[in-house]
Every structure is written in structure tokens, then in C-alpha cells.
Symmetry: C2
DNA sequence: TATTAACACGAAACCGTTTTCGAAGGGTAA
DNA sequence: TTACCCTTCGAAAACGGTTTCGTGTTAATA
């Protein structure tokens, strides 16, 4: 096992001072060509690489970004993460990934741990529990310490910081409009409880699209499910009970399950009933028929979040101007709607 | 913006030395109760938290684990990652996640970057390109520096280190045996080229199961696809050409696509033809019919990998004993086979 | 010959901790 | 009074770098 070589080793070996070695390796003008050549050759030979930790301590910059998401086994979050990682890597940053598991406590613990010097900034999507509790003191703490923060997807108005979201309202609006243009009249919405910022927005878009096209908004065509467990029975019952010819679902799982259920009753998709689901994930692509989806462009979202964060990290000036970037959605048409 | 408080600040404020503060906060016997009380109260009031970076430099321990995987938008890898993260977090470690994007160069760059002090050990699955190139010098370098390394899933015999794999051969063997017990005779295998360690093992299990049950092994019932792009036409043609009543696929995508194709031809699953796919992912669960799957227990795999790594990191002794843990698979029966 | 500038390098401080060792001061025993 | 021992604290080194400032040497200039 060959130990990592340090400046001190090189200095001792070549009988020069540590400062000379440091400068020589940075090609400083101060050092004579002879000495530089000698030192650089030696360093290359022994594959010298500066210690990241020492540099971090000195510069008070870690070149690490902390990312906290509710769950990693989740298609949308992974695409966002990919966007973050790619951009960050290209800029020389590494990414520390933590999962909150939708738990407030885990979110707080992870943040506090990382905030003690391990990272230069945070990118995060709030956990469900945090949104329900509506407690954002851990975020405020971090902001007060001057650590840059970017929120994406699951955000809150309580915190002033950079944000990236998709235009959830517009996405739902587009989807419902497509249904209407396809001649659908009985358009249902299957969503989650309101504490999610995204669900609220999508519900708004759904309602607005109906009203703008002179269709009635009817409460009984909206099914609100509590998060966490997919209540299949509630979905089945809802689909059996109401007279419906189109369904907008706020996630893939609801949509896929609904499609299976109506298919098992002998209905034909999209002839008898058509579907659109949020998040253009893997299920939409491979279901039968393919599920028309509202694409959220997760990777782009991640890249933008990373760009905003690194911009803040690297800007010297301490201006307090925050921007919220809103990404438009795209409808990806597949077999579950008439195209 | 309130700056992070350091030992030095406390020392100056209370007119004691830095060492006294440090000791007092660790409740050292050396310091009088009065002084300790005073210092601890002050520290608590100003919410003092030691700087992770400084501690890392001092201890030469970062409490960070580097994880390098080919892709994050991939169900199996995310489940493994979840297992790693959970275990590591419980042990006080953070996880730095990098993606190699199946690229040799990215794998090398990421490893070298992290190896310079940022992490205490690596957990990784080899990129496709690395396996094709069969070049593991970057792994050897890291091992030589005494940095612990655990390989999972995509491994190699060229490197001596701890490893976790699933029993791919046994998984395929089980699946084929199930087909045979269900009365299937024309059992096909759709797999990737041989450079993947996992594909090779699965092909072995497929062959062995056939031979052990006195069925012929026929080359024309095995379709080997190059990785990266799912060649849908090749699959269709293969399914149309051969007389087949059961198909084992080495991943979900192949299986789902195959099922769609035979369904579109009017065949009934599992009556006319049945399917089993590797990786019990989200597609298997939500396809119609559900895909019987060989579960790889990714989360357990991740937990074991993390356990092995942390064990190595924290053990003082420098024994060179490496173990390979082999996880057995489980068949998760669903509608694509007769049960 | 004395002054000065350029060149090449080293000493030391610093980032924020931990830890070893030494020392001041007071108390006790001989 | 002397010797010794606790108790309690601080100085300093160390982790591995960067950077400022100073200094010795040499050569050019007055």
C-alpha cells in the first residue's frame, strides 16, 4: 500500500520548502524554471494530487452540493437528479445525495449535518411531512447562515430562495383541453390531498380548463386520495360509480391502475375512455396502450436548479435577489388518447 | 446573515484558550465544572457545531462514502442505492453519488476525484464500457492506496475486494425450472451480449436448467442483443420466427416489449406463451398481465455492500481477506405465468 | 564603491479542529 | 520550610494545503 504523497514529502525529498513546492506546482512566476521543472517532474512521477479536504478547509469551499429528495426510487426524482449531477459534474462539483424518506425529521437531520461545512449549497424537494407540518425552520436556519438554497418541484412560499417548478397548472390545463378537443365531456381528475403544492396547482388547471370551455366543474368527478398508499379500491369504486369518458391522473401509478381496471371491465382505451397521466415516466412508455403523459422535463429541471445554485455559490456579491423559474410542460401523445 | 461560530470565537469571547473550549465541549475531566458549564452554555446559546471539514482533515476520515453507478434512472440501481444510503446514514456516513453513464472515462475521472481525500471508501457497479475494455487500473490504483472498495452486481474477477452479487445463474435456473414444471417445452432466452458478468451467468443457468431436465439447448432459441438500444425489430422477428411457448428475459424492458408484441398478434399470456423477467421492478408490477419476475433484492444488496464497506473502513487491522456475498433470488409470481 | 532593483526562495500565518505536554498555583505531608 | 502532588488550564504541533511578506543573493546602475 503506497501512501498518498503530500507537499511536505516532496519538499523534504527535494530539499526545498513547502511553499516553493506549492508555488512550483501552480506554475508560479516566482519560481525559477529549473526548480519548477524538477518539482513538477517529481510530482508527476509520484502522481501527486492535492488533498481535497485541505483545500476545502483553506478555501472554505467544498465543491460539494447537497441534494435532499424524498425518495430515490422514483422516476421523476431520478431524472432531476441526473440533470443536477451532470451539470454539477461539468462544473467540477460533486453531489451528496440524501433521502428524507418523506420524513420531516430525516430532512432536518440531514440538512443540519451537511450544513456544518460539508457542502456549499443545497438543492431540495420538500418531504411530504414537511409540507404537512408547514415547518420550515431548518430551511430558514440554513438561509441565515448564508448557504445558498434552491427548491424544486415541491416548494413553499414561506422561504425566499431560488426555485424551479414546472407549470403544473398549465400542464393540467393543457391535458384537459386536449380531452375537450377530443370530444370528451365527462372528465375526471384523480389526485392527492391538497398539501402538495403540485397537486393544488394541477387541480386548479383542471378546473380552469373546464370553466374556460364552458363545461361544469363537478366535485364528484374529482377523487382525492391520501398520499403514501395507493388506495386501489377507492379508485375502482370511483371509476365504477361515476360516468366518465376521460381521466387525468396526477401520477403514473393512478393512471396505470385505472387503465387496468377499466380494461378488466371490458372498456376500450381510448375509444370508451381515455387517459392522461402526469410524469412521463417509464410506466407511461411501456403500458398497453401507451399512456399519454404530461412531461415534466425532470432532467432540464435538475440542470437549471444546479445552474442557479452554482451561480449563487460562485457570485461574490451578496445580493438578495431570488428568481423562480417555471418550466412549461409538454404533452407526449400515446395510445391512451385519440391522436 | 449570522456567521458560523468557531472554537476561536468562543475562546476569545470567554477569555479562555481554544484548547480549553475544545476540551470543555467534550466534557473532559481536565476542565473544572464551572468553566465547562460556562462554555457549554455559551456554545449551546450560539448553536455551535464543529466544522466537518476541519474534523475530516484532522482525523483523516471524512465519513463520506463514494458510490459510482452506471445510471441513476434505473430501478434496480436506485433500490441498491436506497439500501446503501439507509445503512450508511444510520452509521453516520453520507453518500456522494456519481454516475458513470456507462462510460469508462467518466468512471475513472469520478474515482480519481473522490479518491483524493473526499471519501473513505467506494461502492460501485462497473460501467458497460469498463467491462468491455476490461481495464481496471483505476480500481487497482485505489486499492493500492488502501481505500476500501466494494463491488456489486457488475463485478470483475480481476480485482480483489469485497463483492456482493446475486446468484444470477440460480435465478435463471429457477425461472427455467418453473417454466418446465408448468409444462413448457420451447423455452427462449432474450439476453445481452456476453460482456456483462450478469448476462453470462444467467445464460449459464438457462442452459443448465434445460440440460438437467433433459431438454435440448438450442442456440436458435437464444437471442443476444447488443446493449444500449433496445432493438425492437430484432425481438419481434425473433418471436415471430421461432416456435416458443416461454421466454426468459434478462431485463424488464425486453420482457415488456415481447409481451406487447405477442399480445398484438393475438396470443394469450400465459395460455399460449408465458414470460419471466429479471429485476422485479416497477414495470413488472404494473404491466398487464403482471410480469412474473426474478427479484434481485436490490435494497438488501445495498445494505450488505454498505455494511461490508464500513466494516473495512472502521477496522484498524489491515488484513487482506475479501469476501463475496451471493444473494439468492426469489421468483415473484404474477399473471405472465401459470401459477 | 555604494545603492538599488530583480530574482528566487523560505518563514510563518491561516483555515478549524484535536491532543500532547508543560506549567502555574494551591494544598498537603514530612 | 521544603518537597511533592493535584487541579486546571494554555501553548504548540499536527492534519495538508495557500498566500503574504520578508530576505539573501546577484547584477545593474550611479
Amino acid at each position: 500500500m503506497k501512501q498518498k504523497i503530500t507537499l511536505k514529502h516532496i519538499a523534504r525529498e527535494l530539499s526545498v520548502s513547502i511553499s516553493t513546492v506549492s508555488k512550483a506546482l501552480k506554475n508560479s512566476e516566482e519560481i525559477s524554471k529549473d526548480t519548477k521543472d524538477k518539482i513538477q517532474a517529481f510530482a508527476k512521477l509520484y502522481n501527486y494530487k492535492p488533498n481535497n479536504i485541505a483545500i476545502s478547509l483553506k478555501n472554505r469551499r467544498t465543491k460539494n452540493i447537497g441534494v435532499i429528495i424524498p425518495d430515490i426510487v422514483h422516476h421523476f426524482f431520478t431524472t432531476v437528479f441526473r440533470g443536477i449531477e451532470n451539470y454539477a459534474n461539468a462544473k467540477g462539483y460533486n453531489v451528496i445525495l440524501c433521502m428524507s424518506d418523506e420524513s420531516f425529521d430525516k430532512e432536518v437531520i440531514n440538512m443540519e449535518l451537511l450544513a456544518n461545512g460539508s457542502i456549499d449549497g443545497f438543492i431540495m424537494a420538500l418531504s411530504a411531512e414537511t409540507q404537512i407540518k408547514n415547518d420550515y425552520n431548518h430551511l430558514k436556519e440554513v438561509a441565515e447562515q448564508g448557504i445558498p438554497l434552491v427548491l424544486f418541484d415541491r416548494i413553499t412560499d414561506e422561504i425566499e430562495c431560488d426555485k424551479v417548478v414546472i407549470n403544473d397548472m398549465e400542464g393540467a390545463y393543457k391535458a384537459v383541453t386536449k380531452f375537450i378537443e377530443d370530444g370528451r365531456k365527462q372528465i375526471a381528475l384523480i389526485t392527492t390531498e391538497d398539501y402538495y403544492s403540485v397537486s393544488r396547482e394541477r387541480a386548479k388547471g383542471y378546473k380552469q380548463a373546464l370553466l374556460d370551455h364552458n363545461l361544469p366543474y363537478r366535485e364528484n368527478l374529482v377523487l382525492k386520495l391520501p398520499f403514501m398508499d395507493v388506495d386501489e379500491l377507492a379508485i375502482n369504486e370511483f371509476l365504477d360509480r361515476e360516468k366518465i369518458d376521460a381521466v387525468l391522473c396526477v401520477n403514473e401509478i393512478y393512471a396505470i391502475h385505472s387503465m387496468r381496471h377499466v380494461q378488466s371491465k371490458g372498456l376500450s382505451i381510448p375509444k370508451d375512455i381515455s387517459f392522461i397521466g402526469f410524469t412521463d415516466g417509464i410506466l407511461s412508455k411501456y403500458s398497453t396502450p401507451g399512456l399519454t403523459a404530461v412531461s415534466q422535463h425532470g432532467e432540464k429541471m435538475g440542470a437549471i436548479a444546479a445552474e442557479m445554485l452554482i451561480e449563487k455559490i460562485e457570485s461574490e456579491k451578496e445580493e438578495e435577489t431570488y428568481t423562480t423559474t417555471v418550466l412549461d410542460t409538454t404533452i407526449v401523445a400515446r395510445g391512451s388518447t385519440n391522436n
